[in-house]
């Protein structure tokens, strides 16, 4: 019955609208067991809506989701997926230990309560009332609750919102330690540094669809690259075939735009081998790339960059 070849998450063609707002627009996502994936995008990009659909908390208007080959509800019943939500989900009038006991009681088999409390780093405050816990402690409690069923997939929705720097670091250390045991982790965040520091793979979302998908290193390459622009006679377009490798080449109305990790080589080639003129070179930084790719007024679909396949 081992199903290691089954993806942890397979979401296909997800759409979700709220009234006139088309929050998720044809999102496809496949996550393999063991991956740690950051779902990175600005507020309102559709991250939470997507996570709700993956967890079966809301039904997609179109598309389908499977978790380890089951429906979201089926995966929850089997304890194969758990989530740490942004806010709420805690009863204020019971203790930390009671909260985890209660959650554990819902599953036919679960990890020992003190073990998950220890792993979330809250064993010493086990008898504290939830309402007396700080935001960071409550977040660790949500993490402990998520661990009781020993799920193969852990989903975290902006888990460090409202935490101070130290709390954030401690929280991620606990998650990271846990993920090293082979758990699949998907976390939504709008912090670039978090995605960079803790994910093996970054999925950039903007306005309800994926605009970039690759390893953290690939996203960084994109970020550290430069954009070369030049005017080039239409008759010389054929010469572009001999140009050094670039991430993207666009030619529109006599104007050439090249995104590259090696702008020197591209400029040298253009000046030596073509009649290119009015050459401009502009640097992208990580922040700019992120804003360009995910901002609401970002360039539309044609700017989409996918690393899968062609670049790897």
């Amino acid at each position: 019955m081992t199903t290691t070849s089954v993806p942890a998450v397979h979401a296909a063609g997800l759409h979700k609208s709220f009234g006139k707002v088309h929050a998720v627009r044809g999102l496809d996502l496949t996550v393999q067991p063991g991956e740690v994936v950051a779902f990175l995008g600005p507020n309102g990009a559709g991250k939470t809506t997507t996570i709700d659909m993956i967890l079966g908390l809301s039904a997609p208007d179109q598309g389908s989701v499977s978790i380890f080959g089951h429906t979201p509800r089926g995966a929850i019943a089997r304890g194969q997926v758990a989530a740490v939500m942004q806010t709420g989900g805690l009863l204020r009038d019971i203790s930390v230990r009671e909260t985890v006991q209660l959650n554990a009681a819902m599953f036919d088999s679960s990890r020992p309560v003190d073990e998950v409390l220890a792993r979330a780093g809250i064993l010493e405050i086990a008898d504290r009332k939830v309402e007396k816990c700080s935001g960071g402690q409550q977040q660790r409690l949500r993490f402990a609750m998520a661990l009781v069923s020993d799920p193969g997939l852990l989903i975290l929705d902006e888990p460090t919102t409202g935490m101070d720097v130290a709390g954030r670091r401690d929280f991620w250390t606990a998650i990271r330690t846990d993920a090293q045991r082979g758990r699949t982790v998907i976390f939504a965040t709008h912090y670039l540094e978090e995605a960079d520091a803790y994910a093996d793979r970054i999925v950039l979302v903007r306005q309800g669809s994926i605009v970039a998908d690759g390893t953290a290193a690939q996203i960084k390459n994109l970020a550290s690259g430069r954009t070369v622009k030049a005017s080039l006679p239409a008759t010389e377009r054929g010469l572009l075939a001999g140009m050094p490798p670039a991430e993207s080449i666009e030619y529109d109305g006599g104007r050439l735009t090249v995104r590259t990790g090696d702008s020197d080589a591209v400029v040298r080639y253009l000046l030596n081998n073509t009649g290119a003129h009015d050459v401009e070179v502009a640097a992208n930084n990580l922040e700019e790339a992120f804003v360009a790719l995910t901002g609401d007024d970002a360039v539309p679909e044609s700017a989409n960059i996918t690393f899968e396949g062609d670049l790897v």
Binding site: I76, A77, G88, D108, E115
Partner: protein, 258 residues
């Protein structure tokens, strides 16, 4: 610790009623000071105000006023307890707990069943507390009467557990009992729990027969009045059906949206 097993397929959990859940629910209710004030303290105060000075008087129909008011206020205590317990779903929805539970195997029906059982536990506490206070204050009844009246008040409170769930799913309020508390007092008065229906006048007496506390009150007092009317059973069954249907409808609306 093996997370390798996490990737293997597993059997789904049953998601039914479990003892830990029920026990923590009961503990939560008994620890809640406001709940205890509503279910034990207030009905006791009412008994001392309305009942104590008149306890040895007789009603126009010849029955003991003390017995009448004690049983009636016990029904009131049980219904307040059960409504309060049921309405806690409003607080749990507001805190996002219902949503959290949807990430566990727990079946919605099991959640409702636990809420109903917890409500019955609290209303049992209310009935026993009220009877103890009444007995200490000198109200005497034979054993059969204590038992029958107590059972009717206790089991009849299920009608109000359903009302609590209904309102709890309908309203987002954290303070749902601040609205339900006065509403229950009005229902109790109209149902003849604060004063005998016979002295309410004809108009109110007729209205009373269609209110949800009426049937349970009449049935609970039947051991002392020696009367029985199927209309009382119809009253209880009808209100139970209305509140259960309302709760089911509000619940479905809620899970679709959250």
């Amino acid at each position: 610790m093996s997370t390798a097993t996490a990737i293997q397929d597993r059997k789904p959990s049953a998601g039914g009623v479990n003892r830990t859940f029920l026990w923590i629910e009961i503990k939560r209710m008994l620890r809640n000071r406001r709940t205890i004030i509503f279910t034990v303290f207030m009905p006791a105060v009412f008994f001392f105000i309305f009942g104590l000075s008149n306890k040895d008087k007789l009603l126009p129909n010849g029955h003991s006023y003390g017995q009448y008011i004690l049983i009636s206020l016990t029904v009131y205590a049980a219904m307040t307890a059960a409504t309060g317990a049921g309405s806690q779903v409003a607080v749990e929805r507001a805190q996002g707990w219902s949503r959290q539970l949807r990430l566990t195997p727990l079946l919605p029906g099991a959640y409702i069943a636990v809420k109903a059982l917890a409500a019955l536990t609290l209303s049992l506490v209310a009935v026993v507390a009220q009877f103890v206070i009444g007995a200490l204050a000198g109200v005497t009844m034979d054993g059969q009467t204590w038992l029958t009246a107590g059972l009717v008040a206790w089991l009849g409170s299920l009608v109000f557990a359903a009302l609590g769930l209904f309102v709890g799913y309908l309203m987002p309020s954290q303070n749902v009992m601040q609205i339900l508390g006065p509403a229950l007092a009005i229902l109790a008065m109209l149902g003849g729990l604060f004063m005998p229906i016979e002295i309410m006048g004809e108009t109110f007496g007729n209205i009373a027969k269609f209110t949800p506390a009426y049937g349970i009150g009449q049935l609970a007092r039947s051991p002392i009045t020696g009367e029985f009317d199927w209309a009382w059973i119809v009253n209880v069954a009808t209100w139970l059906a209305i509140f259960v249907a309302g709760a089911a409808m509000a619940f479905r609306r809620d899970t679709k949206r959250v």
